[in-house]
């Protein structure tokens, strides 16, 4: 029975590709599918594109490919990456230029049409409300501050690019797991209404899309039992024609693939496990079986699927104020009391200088900044050290910067102080996320695929 082997690439913009190299060198893979776009990555890319219209893609992808291609090309390994971000065309131009510079001849496919920011009026005219998917709120309040709006596409246009001979496929926003489903559809002869096979493909993609999180990274169980995280291997899937799959990792790498590491990833960022909605299939994860068959090898089978949803998800991002923040450290004795006194002084002065805030967060790092009201306060009175962190949401950068300026004087004119933790931090733009839905027909009408040789 025919099978293909796919390596999980990056899990986000900035992830390491050293484990991907190991998967190519020692994992016998034919494809690498790489996820560069977290929900908020597009906001970073939008800022890049505002500065330079030739940017707007994740800039780590070309150095990564240039590093991996010398070992990938002799083995015929193909790459599928959503590194195109908001500007897949510019990403391809950058890549083609780099490939030509090194005399590398490859076909690069690009998938366009996920970005709908310029088409929002048109969508609304065709009756799409663009109301917030979770709250039902109307989009009018944020319409003018939108920075991007991208639909999650499915695997079809990616398969089209592979069918046209692309060695590298660059996309913008697509469902993360679609990056993995695409080579399966291209190679294994599945039909687009083989719902159970599509569901298996999505489950495998979902297990691989967060790089080291499937192989023992971020493991919530006995994390000490995971060997050699310094040399972690990223997950590799072998997928057969009948949909069955085995997840493993390259020999000689660190990390662990077992029932526990994979089941944590299976449900990661999943809401209703019986309806994991993707553009290509509605997946039921409650029928999935994970079975350890050898050390670091787990068989994945049994996923079931229902017809793909009629609506596609769009995620838009809008400017939502600016965060100012600052920190100060205090030592035993009475570390917390000192920090609390400093917080009181700062908050008093915030009022006196007329700092206009929409929200204020006061945290005591080392005590409750992570678990908030659930933190265990048993030792609160006897802490060795604690850091006061105050964060504010303001309308603009100028206002937010006022907070930081209140902190330095406390070094000499506040409770006995230790200093140290970064003090004033540059204000940072905040971004609201606006998830909404649109009928697939009005999105897919604009999806285009093109393949060009370097």
């Amino acid at each position: 029975m025919k099978s293909i082997r796919i390596a999980g690439g990056l899990g986000f913009y900035g992830d390491s590709w050293r484990p991907v190299k190991a998967s190519i060198e020692r994992g016998n893979v034919q494809y690498v599918s790489s996820d560069h776009l977290a929900e908020l990555t597009l906001a970073i890319l939008q800022k890049d594109r505002q500065r330079d219209p030739n940017l707007g893609y994740t800039r780590d992808f070309a150095p990564m490919l240039l590093d991996l291609l010398p070992i990938a090309i002799p083995q015929g390994v193909k790459f599928i990456l959503n590194a195109g971000g908001l500007n897949p065309m510019a990403a391809r131009e950058a890549l083609l230029n780099a490939l030509r510079k090194f005399g590398i001849k490859l076909k690069v496919g690009v998938v366009l049409g996920d970005s709908v920011l310029e088409r929002l009026d048109e969508l609304q005219e065709t009756g799409v409300s663009l109301a917030h998917m979770d709250t039902g709120a109307g989009i009018a309040t944020v319409r003018d501050s939108l920075l991007f709006a991208s639909a999650y596409l499915g695997a079809r246009p990616l398969v089209e690019a592979l069918d046209a001979g692309a060695d590298i496929v660059l996309t913008g926003r697509v469902a993360d797991a679609a990056l993995f489903l695409a080579p399966m559809m291209h190679e294994l002869g599945w039909r687009w209404d083989d719902w159970d096979k599509l569901a298996q493909g999505i489950v495998v993609g979902h297990l691989l899309e967060c790089s080291g999180q499937a192989t023992g990274g971020n493991f919530g169980g006995d994390w000490r039992s995971i060997p050699d995280l310094a040399h972690i291997g990223y997950p590799i899937a072998e997928v057969w024609e009948n949909g069955d799959a085995v997840i493993s990792k390259a020999p000689g790498t660190g990390g662990r693939v077992n029932f526990d590491t994979l089941r944590e990833q299976l449900l990661y960022e999943v809401h209703d496990p019986q309806h994991y909605l993707t553009p290509d299939v509605d997946v039921d994860m409650t029928t999935v079986q994970l079975e350890e068959i050898a050390p670091d090898e787990v068989r994945v089978s049994g996923a079931t699927g229902r017809p793909a949803p009629e609506m596609l998800k769009i995620v838009a991002g809008y400017e939502d104020g600016v965060m100012g923040q600052a920190m100060l450290g205090y030592a035993w004795p009475d570390a917390l009391a000192k920090a609390q006194s400093a917080a009181q002084i700062i908050q008093q002065q915030m009022v006196e200088v007329g700092l206009k805030t929409e929200e204020v967060v006061v945290e005591y790092m080392g005590l409750d900044s992570i678990h908030g009201p659930l933190a265990d306060l048993t030792h609160a009175k006897n802490l060795n050290e604690v850091y006061l962190r105050i964060a504010v949401r303001c309308a603009d950068k100028k206002e937010a910067a006022k907070l930081g300026r209140l902190f330095p004087p406390l070094a000499l004119s506040g409770p006995p102080f230790i200093g140290g933790a970064g003090g004033m931090i540059e204000p940072r733009g905040l971004l609201g996320i606006w998830p909404t839905l649109a009928p697939r027909s009005v999105i897919e009408e604009y999806v285009r695929v093109s393949v060009e040789e370097s």
Partner: protein
Amino acid sequence: MKKQLVELAHARSGDKGDIASIALFAPDRTTYDLLVREVTLERVRAHFEGIVFGEVERFEVPNVLALNFVLHGALNGGASRSLRSDALGKSLSSALLRMEIGLHQ
């Protein structure tokens, strides 16, 4: 007799916009049944008071001995607009493990 969940189970949390999800994993079927009985929707909602401001949903996933909790309004508006140190809600999983449950009915 009571035990903290951290002694019985492991968990991982993730984020989508302002919604956090936490999957809680049992080591065996007996513990899974215990979690289904004790870690109820109401208890989880009460546990996260002051952190989670929207609806809480619970899903049973017996094939991997897990309970999946979906917490709406859990992330101060979402990672990219949150003022919190743990903007992504990565630690909500361990916060759930602080819950104490009874071992016998």
